[in-house]
């Protein structure tokens, strides 16, 4: 390396002495920089400084001298200094440079922001070609990706800098502009730079920005030249007069970057509709009221949505544009996800079968007065949901009548449950309501594997709110993941907690009933438990004694041989000590599920019981026989005494008799 550099040095010194009087030519530079292995230093790092002559010759700058851009090297000696400055575009592109420095990119750059782009970031260096050339890095078709390299979701700029819009690239690519550009190859379709301008990009809050409210119409009308005429009704119509301060600009209706397929026919403004439908006595042929309360509409979540956006089959070509309306509003044209879910749900399936009981969107959400779920007046507000579902699912209502499952008095039970009380009495809007478990749009019977209340999904459904419990349960013996070879039926949340009657777990009633619940599967062990002191006390209706879950845990139940188990050899003493503070290791030897009926497992208890029973039988047999033998004789004795007493009574007049008798016997 050294020798080669030395050779180059000598050569250059020779050449330099020859050409002292001229500036460097491109050839001078390329003499060294055409060497593919040539390296230099930049900010302490070694970089390749090879310049591909071919690329340079193909660029728009093929006739420009190297030193025109690399001006700081003009007239310097070979070998020139390390840490060469960035190539300067200003001398030629001073206009662009000025705009750039005013924009947010230039400002960031001058502030020293490491993420700020330079000319080269977008335009490249030696290979810059014309914008009209599709190969250009700034060709329209490439712009979204170029800008997207910094502004796509998750890129450092998008994450670390304050960018008010999100999913810019995704939204754009699905927007009409993006669709036109990327799918239909329309080079004239608006790209990032069409709206934001290429060099002086400013935040929309800046009044100079092409995207500020003030300038938006001008920006859009660069392409949409005739738009003012098309939008006549909105701009010159009522809104203008009613709300002069809220003059809409393009982006109010067509949000930037977002999907903006026109789902409605042009030209049909709300006012046109309300000309007729604003009349309270308007009726359809079959007598239904066709009145639309404009106040309702304006206070609804759809206040910014035009009639024709929902009633999209209107045709302005007709004298009566609404003549074209033959079907109900399809909300899924905007609410696509919800629509898909609904169609899969029981509600949607019934609707597809033309079932008259099937609820559609409007049954729950209302029609023109749709309110956001966060609005307490909305029927879909959290605390209103039980009533909303109750309209059909309350006892006696259509859904409850046709229901054949095991859950009855659903609304009544829910209201009394911990969820119902939390929601309706305590006003806790975080409490689970119908839709939290059954989902809002994807309700399915529990037998359906896709249902949120299917056995396999229940834990996840409950776990959505009960953080941590699902994890505990997943590790427990009751979880399907515990033993893959298990064939026994395993419980899920609702097997113990019920579905709609869920009570507080610290309520005495629940504590006691849970033992019968455990006993449904663990029949024998529950029976023997009830033979012990703990079981007897709980049988009496007192929960202040050890119950199944006090020892075994509730969601984290594990087999005895698992060291993690509450009843394992390692933990049993600690478990006993929860109630029996003074318990010792020996104390834990108490048989908590003892029975005196099992001579193999509990011989001591069996024989103790046998012995005691023997003692009882012998004692009672002996005493019983004694008593039975005595009884007839005693009856006889009673008669005799009576007879004797009567004869004594005869003698009562002669009091002395008795005394005599006594004295007689004395002697």
């Amino acid at each position: 390396m050294f020798f080669r550099n030395l050779a180059i040095l000598i050569l250059f010194v020779a050449l330099y002495s020859l050409q002292l009087s001229f500036g460097q030519s491109n050839d001078d530079c390329l003499m060294c920089h055409s060497d593919k292995t040539l390296t230099g230093q930049k900010n302490g790092r070694t970089i390749h400084v090879f310049v591909d002559q071919k690329i340079l010759q193909g660029s728009v700058h093929k006739d420009v001298d190297c030193i025109s851009c690399h001006a700081d090297l003009e007239g310097t000696d070979f070998p020139h200094k390390e840490d060469v400055e960035k190539a300067q575009c200003t001398p030629c592109h001073d206009e662009a440079e000025e705009l750039f420095s005013e924009g947010i990119h230039g400002e960031s750059l001058s502030r020293g922001d490491k993420l700020a782009p330079t000319c080269q970031t977008c335009h490249g260096s030696h290979g810059i070609i014309k914008v009209s050339d599709p190969k250009s890095s700034v060709a329209p078709i490439k712009i979204p990706f170029l800008c997207g390299s910094c502004h796509k979701e998750g890129a450092p700029v998008q994450v670390q800098r304050k960018i008010p819009e999100d999913h810019i690239l995704e939204n754009y690519s699905e927007s009409m502009h993006g669709d036109g550009l990327l799918k239909k190859g329309l080079g004239v379709a608006a790209t990032c730079v069409s709206c934001h301008s290429p060099h002086r990009i400013l935040p929309h809050t800046d009044t100079r920005s092409t995207t500020s409210r003030k300038n938006i119409p001008a920006t859009c009308t660069k392409c949409h030249v005739e738009i003012e005429q098309v939008h006549r009704k909105i701009i010159k119509g009522k809104l203008w007069e009613l709300k002069p301060h809220a003059l809409p600009v393009c982006i109010d209706c067509h949000p930037p970057h977002k999907i903006q397929q026109p789902v409605y026919e042009r030209n049909v403004a709300n006012q046109d509709c309300l000309n007729c439908h604003g009349r309270p006595n308007l009726k359809s042929k079959d007598g239904r009221s066709m009145f639309v309360d404009v106040l309702n509409l304006e206070s609804s979540a759809h206040s910014q949505i035009a009639c024709s956006q929902c009633h999209n089959t209107v045709n302005p070509a007709h004298v009566r544009p609404c003549e074209g309306i033959t079907s109900k509003v399809d909300c899924s044209i905007c609410h696509a996800t919800e629509g898909d879910q609904y169609r899969e749900s029981t509600h949607g399936q019934l609707f597809a079968k033309n079932d008259s009981n099937a609820p559609t969107c409007v049954e729950c959400h209302g029609s023109h007065h749709v309110l956001r779920i966060k609005n307490p007046l909305s029927p879909t507000f959290h605390t209103n949901i039980p009533n909303l579902c109750g309209k059909c699912h309350r006892k006696g209502e259509p859904a409850a009548v046709r229901y054949v499952g095991k859950e009855h008095d659903i609304i009544e039970n829910y209201t009394e449950s911990i969820h119902g009380k939390g929601l309706l009495k305590s006003g806790l809007t975080v409490t689970a309501t119908c839709t939290d478990c059954h989902t809002a749009h994807h309700e399915l019977p529990h037998s359906d594997p896709n249902s949120s209340i299917n056995r396999n999904n229940i834990a996840a459904t409950c776990g959505a709110c009960h953080y941590g419990i699902e994890e505990q349960f997943a590790k427990s013996v009751h979880s399907v993941t515990f033993d893959k070879n298990n064939t026994k039926a395993l419980p899920v949340c609702n097997d113990c907690h019920s579905a709609h009657k869920i009570s507080r777990t610290d309520a005495t009633g629940f504590k006691l009933s849970i033992m019968n619940t455990c006993g449904r599967c663990h029949e024998k062990i529950a029976e023997t438990y009830f033979d012990t002191f703990h079981g007897q006390v709980s049988k009496l209706g007192y929960a202040k004694t050890a119950k199944c879950f006090d020892c075994h845990g509730s969601h984290d139940i594990l087999p005895v041989d698992n060291p993690q188990s509450h009843v394992s050899h390692e933990n049993i003493l600690k478990t006993c000590q929860k109630c029996h503070q003074g318990a010792t290791r020996k104390f834990a030897g108490y048989f908590t599920h003892a029975t005196h009926h099992d001579p193999v497992k509990y011989p001591i208890l069996y024989w103790t019981f046998r012995g005691m029973t023997g003692l009882l039988v012998v004692t009672f047999l002996f005493a019983g026989i004694h008593t039975l033998l005595w009884l007839p004789r005693s009856l006889q004795w009673r008669k005799e005494l009576k007879a004797r007493h009567n004869s004594n009574a005869d003698k009562t007049e002669k009091e002395d008799d008795d005394n005599d008798e006594m004295e007689d016997e004395k002697t």
Partner: protein, 300 residues
């Protein structure tokens, strides 16, 4: 354990106490039990019934009756408190009785040997065997009614049943009272064993008292419906003479009979005693009914 301390008669005390208006009964009565013995038996009844009710509530927890009773006692914890409180009373009764025996020995200046083998000893002796055989013969119509003395053999059996019961139920009960302390020395299964013994022995005790003891003392036809001597302490002389001819004869021979004669109680006192007797008897019977129901109809 020897009730040879026959109550010392206090002559004319009743007539003095109740004033001159009191119509003296013409026949004097024989005082069979001291005040202390009667008091101890009274407290024995109270504690025994309380222990039986509270304890059996737990034993037969699976019956509806038990649940009702448990609530009646103010809940399981309250019932347990009553049970242990009654246990203390019963043990106190037992201790006082033992102390009274020691006191009696000092008073009468006898050796233990003399006391234990004396004629009024509670220990079984030759006469009890003769009486038992005699009774069997009498029951079977092969002889006359034996000449029973101060204590019959079935009374002695009842007496020692209490000793046995206090020992067995008391010790196992204590084990269940302080299991944490006892298992510092003994293995844990002792608690299980103690539970079985305590519960079955209690069943034996209640079963025996409320059937056999009740029959022997109260319900046998000649005493039916009850014999109140354990509360009043006194028995009409004639009844005493027929009931326990041997004792009567001995007292007559030694000339001590006169010293044991007392005035009968006022009718109102007898009435109160009878009411208490009825209550105690009924409670005892209701327990028997409950136990039979629990063991036959509700047993799991």
């Amino acid at each position: 354990m020897m009730h040879n301390n026959k109550p010392k008669a206090v002559k004319n005390v009743n007539s003095k106490r109740f004033g001159s208006n009191y119509k003296e009964s013409e026949t004097k009565q024989f005082e069979r039990f001291t005040r202390l013995n009667r008091g101890l038996h009274f407290f024995m009844i109270l504690s025994f019934l309380s222990l039986a009710f509270t304890g059996l509530t737990l034993k037969f927890a699976y019956t509806g009756w038990a649940v009702i009773l448990s609530h009646l006692f103010g809940g399981f914890e309250s019932a347990r408190y009553i049970h242990r409180f009654s246990a203390v009373i019963m043990i106190s009764v037992f201790t006082i009785h033992l102390i009274s025996i020691v006191k009696m020995k000092r008073k009468e200046k006898k050796t233990w040997f003399q006391m234990l083998l004396g004629p009024d000893s509670m220990l079984f002796n030759k006469k009890d065997l003769q009486d038992f055989i005699g009774s069997m013969k009498w029951f079977l119509g092969m002889g006359e009614r034996p000449q029973y003395g101060r204590w019959t053999y079935w009374e002695k059996f009842d007496y020692f049943a209490v000793f046995w019961g206090i020992f067995v139920i008391g010790s196992t009960g204590l084990t269940l009272w302080i299991p944490e302390t006892l298992t510092r020395i003994l293995p844990g299964w002792i608690i299980n064993v103690a539970t079985i013994i305590h519960s079955d022995e209690a069943l034996l005790a209640t079963g025996f008292i409320f059937t056999v003891h009740f029959f022997n003392t109260h319900l046998r036809p000649e005493k039916f419906p009850m014999d109140i001597v354990i509360f009043s302490g006194r028995v009409p002389l004639e009844e005493f003479r027929i009931d326990r001819p041997d004792e009567y004869r001995q007292l007559l021979e030694s000339g001590e009979l006169e010293t044991h004669l007392v005035e009968p109680y006022q009718p109102i006192v007898i009435k109160a005693i009878k009411i208490f007797g009825w209550v105690a008897l009924s409670l005892g019977f209701s327990i028997i009914v409950w136990v039979i129901y629990a063991m036959i109809f509700a047993y799991r």
